[in-house]
């Protein structure tokens, strides 16, 4: 009998690391080709996002933001992967992936309006190739296969990149998505950000598989597990996956090992109910900003001054964006009726009149 033992396959999924926690290159062959300017830009984005996250949490607590899923800890996983994209590539984010959306072109004001639950937040500018954040776990996986098929049919040299969490790999749509992408051999990249907890349920309880990356094998696509706290590893894996996809070599599933320091969302989740302080501390030692800062300082590419400038810039931008969001007119029911269809069906046309009258009183 020649049954394949799963542990033989798992062994092949070693974690790709380029930069260790001390900011030292540990894998010379895998160092991505990034200019000094690109390296500092990536650092700027991570610092910017850390500040933004802190501000968002505080605004949420003041009742000035609304729905928010904290991102601290996941900056490398999020931003270094988006950094490998071209402007014309498509982004299909989950609800935590707002930073990637913003660096892909969504104005910060709209991100805040989305958090507040305002329809203007969903009006993505025409030149930004992205869908708004997906709420239903893994629904974006099948959609990414569709976007990528469209790109292939149009002969475009672009990809569809989708983000989801570790819990999403339990969903049927995840398997359908990677299977469709494989069956049609389309330029799609699937990134499972494994922050180890689907709200409270640890990844060990989601699956017996030791890695999420190995799930690619059953779909006949490429899979890789990377240190998601290492921006260079995340960038390198995404860049390679993108190049393969564009070259017609098919989709890739990337698993990034990461951690969210904060709660699942700001709607009352308490991580102390399911995570230990020891585990939090262990992951905070792997922090992406700390190791990347050390690396860049070693290359004389980052300084305290640069850090402070970035922090100030973030604070200024956030202040301006919140101010702009505050000035956006409040939503009316008639607005919501009008965004349902291109041409209103007769029932809604009637209801539009009804609400127009109500709103004029």
């Amino acid at each position: 009998m020649s049954t394949i033992n799963y542990s033989d396959v798992e062994k092949q999924f070693e974690t790709l690391q380029v930069l260790n926690t001390d900011g030292e290159i540990v894998n010379k062959d895998a160092v991505p080709d990034l200019s000094d300017e690109q390296l500092t830009e990536l650092m700027r984005r991570m610092v910017y996002t850390r500040i933004w996250d802190q501000r968002a949490i505080s605004l949420n607590r003041q009742g000035r933001l609304g729905f928010y899923a904290p991102v601290a800890g996941q900056e490398a996983s999020m931003l270094a992967s988006q950094f490998a994209l071209e402007k014309e590539d498509w982004l299909l984010p989950s609800y935590r992936d707002i930073p990637q959306l913003v660096f892909h072109g969504l104005p910060l004001t709209k991100a805040f309006l989305y958090s507040r639950g305002h329809f203007v937040g969903g009006q993505i500018p025409d030149d930004v190739h992205a869908l708004m954040p997906q709420i239903i776990i893994a629904a974006q996986c099948t959609q990414a296969a569709g976007v990528a098929l469209g790109l292939k049919k149009r002969g475009k040299k672009n990809i569809a990149l989708t983000y989801f969490g570790d819990g999403a790999t339990s969903q049927g749509d995840f398997y359908e998505g990677i299977n469709y992408a494989g069956a049609y051999n389309v330029p799609a990249v699937f990134i499972s950000q494994n922050n180890h907890f689907a709200i409270s349920v640890p990844v060990e309880k989601q699956t017996k598989a030791k890695t999420l990356a190995q799930k690619a094998i059953a779909a006949g696509i490429n899979g890789i597990q990377v240190d998601g706290m290492d921006p260079l590893a995340v960038y390198a894996a995404t860049k390679t996956a993108r190049e393969n996809a564009v070259a017609g070599e098919g989709p890739t599933l990337i698993e990034t090992l990461t951690y969210r320091y904060g709660p699942h969302t700001m709607a009352g989740d308490d991580p102390t109910r399911y995570r230990t302080e020891e585990l939090d501390n262990e992951w905070e030692l792997k922090d992406p900003l700390i190791r990347f800062r050390k690396y860049l300082e070693g290359k004389n590419l980052w300084s305290k001054d640069e850090e402070e400038k970035t922090v100030e810039q973030a604070k200024e931008d956030i202040k301006a964006a919140i101010k702009e969001a505050d000035q956006t007119p409040k939503q009316k029911v008639t607005d919501l009726i009008n965004i349902m269809n291109e041409q209103l069906p007769n029932n809604l046309r009637e209801q539009l009149e009804e609400y127009r009258e109500k709103e004029s009183k």
């Binding site: 498509w90 329809f119 203007v120 937040g121 969903g122 009006q123 993505i124 190739h129 869908l131 708004m132 239903i136 629904a139 996986c141 099948t142 959609q143 990414a144 296969a145 569709g146 976007v147 990528a148 098929l149 469209g150 790109l151 049919k153 149009r154 475009k156 569809a160 049927g172 749509d173 359908e176 998505g177 299977n179 469709y180 069956a183 919501l336 009008n338 965004i339 349902m340 269809n341 291109e342 041409q343 069906p345 007769n346 029932n347 809604l348």
Partner: protein
């Protein structure tokens, strides 16, 4: 003009739009070389190539996700759910994703997707093939639900659906696929979505129905005529949105109404029609509005179809009850 069955008319509509619009793509399970389990996509892959007409893996949610994704690069997907009972597997893709895309994008981008699917009783299918699920979709904001009752309407409505910039559920009653032929014009023509059709004029009572029950109601109307009752029959053609104006106008003339549907009674299209009549024409009524529907069980096992499905006798009886109220 050619005589066509409803299945042929639907194929003709698909062929016409594949020809007229390069962005139209057709996909689903077995729709390619096999031409679909009802042969509705027969010959289309050979004529337009695998780029335009293609098979999908056997996963309905994936079909829905694929459709939504394709719209972002300007395609107009016509996706097939092999039998409408399988749509539960794609409920999230259709109702939470495709139907909401325009709202979610603040009105900017609709999903010009047509979900085509066979349904309906009387052909003795296994479980979860024949169920009338239109009520679920009629209650889902962002979707139009179209159910043709004859070959001419089927082609015109399907072309309208494909040209619509928002999603349309297009349900094809299996019993109507091959049961009769109609004159069907060549090339592109449209039948307006949201517009009912008076298929038989009458003065004494209005029968409001759709799908295969149009034929059943016409049969009932013939029997009623023999007894001196002159029934008007309205084919809704679109069950969401409902053409309330045509219904109200008819009731103003007949002062009596019976709503007929193949689906179960609870919370469906017939219930909505009754409510609309109540809102708009209650003072024109001489009797309560009657309803003929199936009972509130799941769609029956094949051998019980004949006793479960509403028939012309049920309609005759209900109409007489309302006329003699």
């Amino acid at each position: 003009m050619a005589q066509m069955t409803m299945a042929q008319a639907i194929t003709d509509a698909l062929r016409t739009q594949l020809k007229n619009d390069d962005n139209v793509v057709i996909f689903g399970e077995d729709v390619g070389q096999n031409g679909g389990v009802y042969r509705v996509t027969e010959g289309l892959q050979a004529e337009f190539g695998e780029e335009r007409v293609f098979d999908t893996p056997l996963a309905e949610s994936g079909i829905g996700g694929l459709a939504l994704g394709l719209t972002l690069n300007g395609f107009r997907p016509v996706m097939e759910i092999q039998f409408f009972g399988f749509v539960f597997e794609a409920m999230d893709a259709v109702v939470s994703q495709i139907a909401r895309l325009r709202y979610r994008s603040g009105g900017k981008h609709g999903a010009p997707v047509v979900v085509r699917s066979p349904f309906g009783g009387g052909v003795k299918t296994p479980e979860l093939h024949a169920d009338s699920l239109e009520g679920l979709f009629a209650q889902s904001p962002g979707l139009k639900v179209v159910i043709p009752s004859n070959p001419y309407d089927a082609k015109g409505l399907l072309i309208s659906a494909i040209k619509d910039n928002d999603p349309v559920i297009f349900l094809e009653h299996m019993k109507l696929y091959f049961s009769f032929r109609d004159e069907v014009p060549e090339g592109e023509y449209t039948v307006e979505i949201g517009k009912a059709n008076i298929v038989r004029e009458g003065t004494d009572v209005t029968i409001i129905t759709y799908g295969a029950m149009v034929q059943t109601s016409l049969k009932a109307a013939d029997k009623l005529a023999e007894e001196g009752i002159n029934a008007e029959v309205i084919d809704l053609r679109t069950v969401s949105p409902i053409d309330v104006d045509t219904i109200v106008e008819s009731i103003k003339k007949t002062n009596r109404a019976v709503v007929v549907q193949e689906a179960q009674k609870q919370a469906g299209i017939a219930a909505t029609v009754v409510a609309e009549i109540n809102d708009r024409a209650i003072l024109d009524l001489e009797a309560p509005v009657g309803r003929v529907t199936a009972p509130d069980t799941v769609f029956p096992y094949a051998a019980a179809e004949e006793v479960w499905l509403p028939n012309d006798k049920d309609i005759v009886e209900k109409v007489k009850e309302i006329v003699n109220f």
